[in-house]
């Protein structure tokens, strides 16, 4: 009996020893250095190198600061942010999407208010494209800085347009004419695939901005006051569904995905595709700089929103600082380093990620098409945030699921009824 007990003890202690061996942490910070943790996206090779180098440069400039850099993929980030926030352990500096994703951190006081830093350094504050900086403003305070920007355009395949003697449409009627002409020639006009659900939101977000007044939209996109009862929302969904019903988007849209259709677009199977400037480098690679052009998606007939003519959909990606960081000054210093003009230009040049700095994108660090696209976007004072990110997750998911059903026959009214129900639930929970 005794021997058995001893044997078991030995086994148990060996197991413990094994774990202790595995679990040795390398957490001791080098003497006296300020250590900042930095959680970022962009683990892909084409981006990682740039960020690693930037950090090394920063550390060289600031020998007393050490950055502990981690990067994870886009998909993994969503879950990780939730878990880290729930566990009360946000990194000192971390990536965050704009809109509601950021706002919920701001609202709960989990990220640092950067307003005073921005006021102190007006030059820094004024260097950002205002439309993108504004997406990280919550109740008049700055909570993050944008490092990457993106604007939505309709891209077209120049070859397909030339083959069919088509001109770039500037009005909605011309746009519909182009679609009809293509359809009659049995070319699917617009590349679209919605198996990932978020793609519809680009269209609907843009149309919402066309059909609904700014104040109404702002109130509705806020979780605590969302109602979505304006009839402009139904019209926006209907405008999108009309494109599908007319057959402009092709067949079986719910099982095709974005990756598939954009390859097919690049190969000339479709004439147009809705995409963001941040993706232009893909088309440049696949079609050449002269292979594709872009235009702003025209304003639909009957669009009555007060910003209908000036607005584009777009968004920013941001860095925020945890409210609990022990070294806020150093963290802000790092943000300033990443977003100073020369560094931001380098980011765009080396990675193709468009920065969010005024005049930060030129033919020098990008290409003519993208630079031109940004020149126009500097004129837009109104940016409609990505609809899937600027509203509460529950509203966004309901929107996406219902729109998927709408592509299969559900009516625009029913879609908005679902959204209204979700918005009410969210508003009640946020009161």
């Amino acid at each position: 009996m005794k021997r058995k007990a001893i044997a078991m003890l030995v086994v148990a202690s060996m197991t413990v020893a094994l774990f202790a061996g595995c679990g040795s942490k390398s957490d001791e910070s080098d003497s006296g250095k300020v250590k900042l943790t930095f959680l970022d996206k962009h683990p892909e090779d084409e981006y990682k190198g740039y960020f690693e180098e930037a950090i090394a440069d920063f550390e060289k400039e600031n020998p007393d600061i050490e950055i502990e850099y981690e990067n994870i993929s886009d998909q993994a980030m969503k879950e990780k942010l939730s878990v880290l926030a729930a566990g009360g352990d946000l990194p000192d500096i971390f990536f965050c999407w704009g809109g509601e994703c950021l706002n919920r951190f701001s609202r709960s006081g989990k990220i640092l208010d950067l307003t005073s830093y921005m006021d102190e350094d007006a030059e820094w504050k004024d260097s950002f494209l205002p439309a993108f900086l504004s997406s990280s403003v919550y109740e008049g305070k700055n909570y993050a800085v944008p490092y990457r920007s993106s604007v939505l355009y309709m891209l077209y395949n120049k070859q397909v347009f030339a083959d069919n003697n088509l001109d770039v449409p500037t009005t909605w009627d011309e746009f519909i004419d182009v679609c009809d002409t293509l359809k009659n020639k049995e070319i699917t006009p617009i590349a679209f695939g919605n198996s990932d659900k978020w793609y519809t939101m680009w269209y609907v977000g843009q149309f919402n901005a066309n059909f609904v007044n700014k104040d109404v939209r702002t109130a509705d996109y806020n979780p605590s006051s969302g109602a979505f009862t304006d009839e402009g929302y139904v019209k926006a969904v209907q405008t999108f569904l009309d494109l599908n019903d007319a057959g402009y988007l092709g067949k079986n849209v719910n099982s095709k995905d974005y990756y598939q259709v954009r390859e097919e677009f690049a190969a000339g199977k479709y004439a147009m595709i809705l995409d963001a400037t941040s993706q232009f480098s893909f088309y440049k690679g696949a079609m050449g700089e002269d292979g594709y052009g872009y235009f702003k998606i025209p304003i639909p007939d009957g669009a009555t929103g007060d910003e209908a003519s000036t607005i584009v959909t777009g968004g920013s990606e941001n860095y925020a600082v945890s409210a609990e960081t022990k070294h806020p000054d150093e963290a802000v210093k790092f943000l300033k380093f990443l977003t100073k003009k020369a560094q931001a230009e380098k980011q765009t040049k080396e990675t193709g990620l468009p920065n969010a700095i005024i005049g930060g994108i030129t033919e020098d660090n990008s290409d003519a098409v993208i630079a031109a696209a940004y020149e126009t976007s500097e004129d837009y004072d109104a940016i409609a945030e990505w609809l899937d990110q600027c509203v509460d997750g529950n509203v966004s998911n309901t929107y996406m699921a219902s729109l998927q059903e709408a592509l299969d026959g559900k009516s625009a009214e029913d879609v908005m009824a679902d959204v209204q129900k979700a918005a009410k639930e969210v508003a009640d929970a946020n009161k």
């Binding site: 202790a20 679990g23 996206k41 981690e70 993929s73 878990v83």
Partner: protein, 273 residues
């Protein structure tokens, strides 16, 4: 004669079924040689040029880097869960005591948990224990999730071994520990083999906990590392596929090696009571 026809038809059906199983496998291997463009434009034709570099890149950029972490975590979690399960299964199947039912149900209950629901609570616990970003936290959790099924499988196996074996050992004055080590364990090879492969594949492919509980790049496992190839709009799908083909090779090899342990007759006949 009639029997022969039945045999031929059976063989035919089995081969057909094997083809259905194999086709997507071969597709994966071949697709790993293609470009992203070919994948979407002509997914079921052979690649125009065979891009061996996909597999080389998959190794250099993904698997190679994370392989050792995955091996450490998987081997440790599998060994731990299988060993503890062998221990627990022994009294539950071969010794008599009153509260046995309770313990069996308790272990069985562990099979019923959806891991998604434990994620946040486990994360908080790991934080409190100071084990965040350590391999040990992942090993313990992965092992814990494997124990219920492994215990159950082993218990069932132990029950099929003749009780007269331990009876006679008792008479010879052996302790339960000696019986366990000298009689039960050697007889358990087939079940330990199948248990291990089953746990091994589950831990090897586990993504959710590995993503959340580990932070440092040098501790990431293969599945987490592979997610790096899948950005929202920058995915190189053929690289994803070639990586996953490589990532599953260790499992397939392990299975083929362990399969020898499943060989008939190792336990049959002589020990069944």
């Amino acid at each position: 004669m009639k029997k022969k026809i039945v045999h031929i038809i059976t063989y035919f059906l089995f081969i057909l079924f094997a083809l259905i199983i194999i086709f997507p496998l071969i597709w994966m291997v071949i697709t790993g040689f293609k470009t992203n463009q070919e994948l979407f434009l002509s997914p079921f034709s052979l690649p125009e040029t065979w891009h061996w570099e996909n597999y080389v890149n998959a190794w250099n950029k993904g698997i190679g880097v994370y392989l050792s972490n995955s091996v450490i975590i998987t081997v440790a979690a599998t060994a731990l869960s299988t060993f503890l399960s062998c221990l627990a299964a022994y009294p539950l199947s071969r010794l008599k005591f009153k509260t046995k039912k309770l313990w069996v149900y308790l272990i069985l209950g562990g099979l019923m948990l959806a891991p998604q629901s434990s994620l946040i609570s486990l994360f908080k616990m790991v934080k409190i224990a100071g084990l965040y970003d350590t391999r040990i936290s992942l090993i313990l959790i992965d092992a814990a999730f494997r124990i219920p099924f492994a215990t159950f499988l082993i218990m069932t196996f132990y029950k099929s071994i003749s009780y007269s074996l331990d009876e006679s050992a008792y008479i010879d004055g052996a302790t339960t520990w000696q019986i366990f080590v000298k009689i039960m364990l050697p007889l358990s090879k087939p079940i330990i083999a199948s248990c291990s492969i089953v746990s091994f594949r589950a831990v090897w492919n586990e993504l959710m906990f590995a993503n959340v509980l580990l932070q440092s790049t040098d501790k990431k496992t293969v599945p987490v590392g592979l997610m790096n190839f899948q950005g929202m709009t920058t995915t190189n799908w053929t690289l994803v596929i070639s990586s996953m083909v490589i990532a599953s090779l260790p499992l397939i090899i392990a299975f083929l090696l362990l399969q020898k342990q499943f060989v008939r007759g190792l336990t049959a006949g002589s020990v069944k009571g």
